[in-house]
Amino acid sequence: MDFGHYLIAGVMPYVAVAFFVLGLGYKIVYWFKAPMHLHWELFPYPHTMAEQLKEMITEVFTLHSLYRFNRKHWLPSLMMHWGFYLLVGWLVVLLLGFSFAAYVGTTGGVLVLAGSFSLFLLRLLDAEVRKISAPVEYINLIFVFLLASSGLFSGFLGDIQLVRSYFLSLLTFKPDASIAADYLTPLLLFELFLIYIPFTRMAHFAAKFFTYHKIKWGELH
């Protein structure tokens, strides 16, 4: 096992997770500690915790703002988002040892692939969106696309036996880098992705909590 291999499969996973958690954590704490701005809510807004939860969940799982007001972005975005949700789900069911994890992972991968591809095309072909896009917007989508393709085509997302034991070895801090030999590319991409997220708009899943709960919505009743 060469050094690069060990680095990618044995060391980088920890570095990447640390970056992700600390980077995002830092941002979240920073936002939390921000001075309370002047009232700037929009009406009507959900007034109870339950209503807010319901609206947030509806938005997260159906992207209904896009559905209502920007239909052409809706399906591609929905695919990509559901793809990510399934990939998170994949990780959970994989670790719990369910054999259907392979289906969850593959479906997730396919959805992310299709979603990022169609969003890329949309951004490229629709002049209005193209005009408000910087190169980084395309790069992000390509990144996501590559990540999904390598996860799918290397077989990483479907090889649940091996991937599970590898992840368990990581979790128990006895990284068994050797068993991940065939999956260095998806691993590396995934690690870079984790490191990259806190520094980009892709952290919007965290920022959204603040833009909704602290800005768009007023105080609870």
């Binding site: 929009l42 920022a207 959204k208 603040f210 768009k216």
Partner: protein
């Protein structure tokens, strides 16, 4: 002398005269300094979170553009895209205040600021009324409006602001008590004149109390209403009188007698100076409730923006909208109305500041339904109401061809909406909206009139 047409710096309009914009002076450095301050939590705590989150997290999906009245009305003109506008500031932000933008400007869309770009930005932040319709529908709840307002604040900090809002706005108001510059003697004459007017039209005389100390209600109008929309002022007085409550207006003798606060549109410094003067006036008069007349942004300021700025113990009075009172009194039977007195079909315009930003959706509707037998909704309405184009100071700005901008963009959409209702009267409860409707009806030759909610209510009163 023919008006000198100012040089084009952005589009066919010029809100800022050369005198205000000073295009021949180097301003980039000063702008960047002021912008640096705006990005610091301590220096700009009032809006830091909404501002920086909006700068950082826009996904460039374009949903905002689908609902922006300016973008839609101009046939989707690129320069009026909400994100085109906010990107003008975002590019500067990235270039000078973020690491990726400093290292790889082309990659993240960061750009150097030039004097020309500064001119264009200064104009473009006055092509958006900060109606926040786009923010309501944004999937990430990004607020193009707050970015526009922050940019206006930065410009004001380097001395660039429309005269209508500053020199003849907040500054004049703080010095004269009202932004119309009306002295106390003239104000008192005006009130007497209104008493005469009421007597003439209704056949009975009522006393309009002024500067009464310790009254339960201090009613403060947008002072422009006394000159332009006196029917609303008279209507409100009749309602107060009919309700038999202990109320008063105030004159410049007792401080600020104008509910407006143009600081809401362009400056937190001006905003807080004016609102502090409001509070001081109310305290000096020792009133129990400050009633905001038919003025949207004044309601937003005194009802919401004030809350975290001035501690509760320093403002020992309640703030309510006149709409809340009128609605309550009708429901309690404290005042009686006969809807047959307003037989014409009536529609209602939700002012952005009262509705989407103030939550006042049902009160005006209940009042109007009680007073007008043929009430018709405009579509869309409530939280999706289209800004009429009078917001954020536009209603008092017309120089540099700007009236045409107001009429051809927001105004055109609103005119179409109004026509579709077939109503003969458009009711609204905001002074700036009324000023815009006056022009829309005239410019687009609509067979209808505008009216204040209080005016229609007063007309339906049964004594």
């Amino acid at each position: 002398m023919p008006a000198v047409v100012a040089r084009k710096v952005f589009d066919d309009y010029r809100v800022l005269s050369d005198e205000a914009l000073r295009p021949h002076e180097p301003r980039v450095e000063k702008f960047l300094q002021a912008m640096r301050k705006s990005l610091q939590q301590k220096e700009n705590w009032t809006f830091w979170l909404p501002y920086t989150l909006s700068l950082d997290t826009c996904m460039k999906c374009g949903t905002c553009a689908e609902v922006c009245p300016v973008y839609q009305a101009t046939g989707r003109k690129e320069i009026y895209h909400p994100v085109y506008r906010t990107d003008m500031l975002r590019k500067i932000y990235k270039r000078y205040f973020t690491l990726p933008g400093k290292l790889f400007p082309w990659l993240v869309g960061a750009e150097d600021l030039t004097e020309e770009k500064l001119n264009a930005l200064a104009e473009n932040v006055y092509r958006c009324t900060i109606c926040r319709r786009c923010s309501y529908v944004c999937p990430v709840a990004i607020d193009n409006g707050v970015i526009v307002r922050e940019a206006r604040k930065i410009f004001d900090a380097i001395g660039i602001a429309p005269d209508e809002l500053k020199k003849k706005g907040t500054r004049l108001q703080l010095q004269a008590g009202n932004a119309t510059g009306m002295p106390a003697a003239a104000f008192l004459d005006m009130v007497e004149f209104l008493e005469d007017e009421i007597e003439e039209t209704r056949g009975y005389r009522i006393k309009i109390p002024v500067d009464k100390e310790g009254a339960e209600f201090l009613l403060m109008h947008n002072a422009g209403d006394y000159l332009a929309f006196a029917e609303t002022v008279m209507g409100a007085a009749e309602v107060m009188h009919a309700a038999g409550v202990d109320w008063t207006l105030n004159s410049p003798n007792t401080g600020i007698n104008d509910a407006v606060n143009y600081g809401v549109f362009y400056s937190d410094v001006e905003f807080s100076a004016v609102i502090k003067a409001h509070v001081e006036t109310a305290r000096k008069l020792g009133i129990k409730k400050l009633v905001v007349g038919e003025c949207g942004h004044a309601f937003e300021a005194l009802k919401y923006l004030i809350l975290r700025l001035i501690p509760p113990e320093e403002r020992p009075f309640e703030v309510i909208s006149i709409l809340e009172l009128e609605d309550q009194w009708i429901r309690e039977g404290r005042i009686k109305v006969d809807p047959q007195k307003n037989p014409e079909p009536v529609t209602f315009h939700d002012s952005c500041k009262l509705g989407r930003l103030g939550g006042m959706f049902e009160e005006p509707r209940r009042i109007l339904k009680a007073c007008c037998p043929d009430f018709r909704e405009m579509t869309p309405n409530r939280e999706m109401s289209l800004c009429c184009g009078g917001g954020s100071g536009f209603a008092i700005m017309e120089k540099g061809g700007f009236l045409k901008f107001r009429m051809e963009t927001y105004g055109r959409l609103k005119a179409e909406q109004l026509k579709a209702t077939g109503a003969k009267v458009v009711a609204c409860a905001c002074s700036n909206c009324k000023a815009q409707f006056r022009e829309i009806i005239n410019y687009h030759k609509l067979p209808m009139r505008y009216a204040g909610v209080s005016e229609l209510l007063a007309n339906a009163l049964v004594r």
